[in-house]
Structures are given as structure tokens and as C-alpha cells.
Subunit: 139 residues, 2 copies
DNA sequence: TATTGTTATACTCTATAACTATA
DNA sequence: TATAGTTATAGAGTATAACAATA
């Protein structure tokens, strides 16, 4: 009952492990930039020059819309994000990164998994294989 | 400036994306079992038949030890985890899953990334490659 | 009427600091 | 003195429900 039938499981067990490892690291990493894990997540989701309505951000975060208000309040008060009224529908507010937000996002994303350390040990072939596989997983 | 020099980055960018996708999914998934994301994390870290001192769990979660008290209080009150005094050092309390905890952990871990859906589309070779790569990344 | 975002409320998660009981 | 876990406290994250403005 050890490694008999569970061939397809090993891969996902490792992916789960990777996920939880990253999850444990995120608070420390985020605090380097005085961000919370959730704020990092928001920064990741708001791409530069791609305004996103608050409701769609809530969807992407898979959380209630009421959270987004406070989350964005805090990021906006730090000058990282802006609320912009939508032209089409005056109920909708779109979110966009400020220049400072764009810079911080880029810094955080480069920092979040340090490619030289772990990925540098992969051969070019392995990296290509990994990219191909992850693309399929995320499609 | 699209795919010129950033060969090693694509892999980690995808891993980051995978991580945040999973992070968004976790609250919904956890709530299926009336667990919080943090409780899922704890359940993942306490392996069956492997008691772990509270302090070491705090380390693994990369959080302050004071959190673990409340986190474990709630899991213990649901009968999923037990506190056991350590024989060597009476200050230390070790944590272990109850039978119900072991069962729930297994269910949650099977559910957390549904292997048939995304991983099932990978060939055996790809799965082996993925396992090999992830093992290196996590070592 | 239905929808977008906000507010009010309550609970969980989290860190800091002070405490206890052991060592 | 130092360490393991707890308690007290405060702030952030989260969901639910009720609300305002707009559609």
C-alpha cells in the first residue's frame, strides 16, 4: 500500500507540497515590502495597463466583493492602486496600478520565487518540459 | 521584448501563476469541509503517525507560535487533532491527528488538486518528468 | 427589479507583548 | 536565565446582510 497504484498521485502531491511551501513563505516575503499576502495576490492580479473592475477582481480572488473594498482602500492609501469610474456603467469602478504600483508589482514578482536558486539547477530541456507541462495545467 | 532573453523566467512565472490560482481556490475548497485555508494548511503539515511539537508547526507555517494555540484549539474542538504532552520536556506539547483527522486530511488532499482533470492529460513521460523536476525544486 | 460597490457586523488569522510553567 | 506554550490585544482578511446609486 505504499507505491503500488498511485502513479498519477505523486505529481500532484508534489504540486500540493509546492503550493503549501509557497503559502508558508508568502507572509515573510510580502512583509519585506510591507504587504500582506492578500495584497501581493491583488498586485499579481492587476496587470499593468489592464484596468479591471472591482467585481472581476473579487471573482479572480474568489472572495466576496465586500472584501475588495477594504483591500483596495489600503492599497490606494499607499498610492499603489487607483479607482477609476467606468465610462460605460457608472456603477462600475475599474482598478489600475499607479506607476509605483507597477514598479512594486514587478519587484515582488521577481522576488517571489527566486529563479536562479531552484530553477537554475534545471537543464534547458527540463525547463522547457516544465513550461510545457505547466501551460497545460493552467491552460 | 517578448520572448527574447527571459528563458528561465517563463517557468517560474508559470509556477507563480499556479500558486496564486491555487491560493484563490483554497478558501472555496476548504469551505467544502468547513475548514479555513489555514486549517487546511495545518492538516497538510501534520502527517499521520508523526506527532509534531507546536513550536515546529509554527516554524513550518512560518508564523508566530501564538497563532498555533488558537488554530489548534479550533481543530481540537472539532476532534481532528490532539495535544499530547511530551515525555522528554514537559513544556512541549506534540500534536497528532485523530482518526477523524487522518480521514479528513486524506479527503482534503485528494480533493485539493483534482489529478484526473489536469494531470490526467499528461502523458506518463510528462508525469515522470514533472515529478523529477518538482523533487529537485523542493528537495 | 437587478447589479455594483459600500457599510455594518462578526469571526478567523496574524503579530506583538506579557505571562506561566517548565528547563 | 532561557524556552514552550498561552493569553490579551489589535489590525487585516473574510463572509453575510443591508444599503445607496445606477442600470
Amino acid at each position: 500500500m505504499k507505491s503500488t497504484k498511485s502513479k498519477p498521485c505523486e505529481a500532484w502531491q508534489l504540486l500540493v507540497k509546492f503550493f503549501f511551501t509557497q503559502r508558508a513563505d508568502l507572509p515573510t516575503l510580502a512583509s519585506e515590502f510591507e504587504l500582506s499576502p492578500a495584497q501581493c495576490h491583488v498586485l499579481h492580479l492587476i496587470e499593468p495597463d489592464r484596468p479591471i473592475p472591482m467585481g472581476r477582481l473579487a471573482e479572480a480572488l474568489a472572495c466576496d466583493a465586500s472584501n475588495v473594498t477594504g483591500l483596495i482602500d489600503r492599497l490606494e492609501s499607499r498610492g499603489l492602486v487607483r479607482r477609476r469610474p467606468s465610462a460605460d456603467d457608472r456603477r462600475v469602478k475599474s482598478l489600475e496600478l499607479t506607476p509605483a504600483g507597477v514598479r512594486l508589482r514587478s519587484t515582488v514578482l521577481e522576488r517571489i520565487t527566486k529563479p536562479p536558486d531552484s530553477l537554475g539547477r534545471l537543464s534547458a530541456d527540463e525547463q522547457r518540459a516544465l513550461v510545457k507541462i505547466l501551460k497545460r495545467l493552467l491552460d
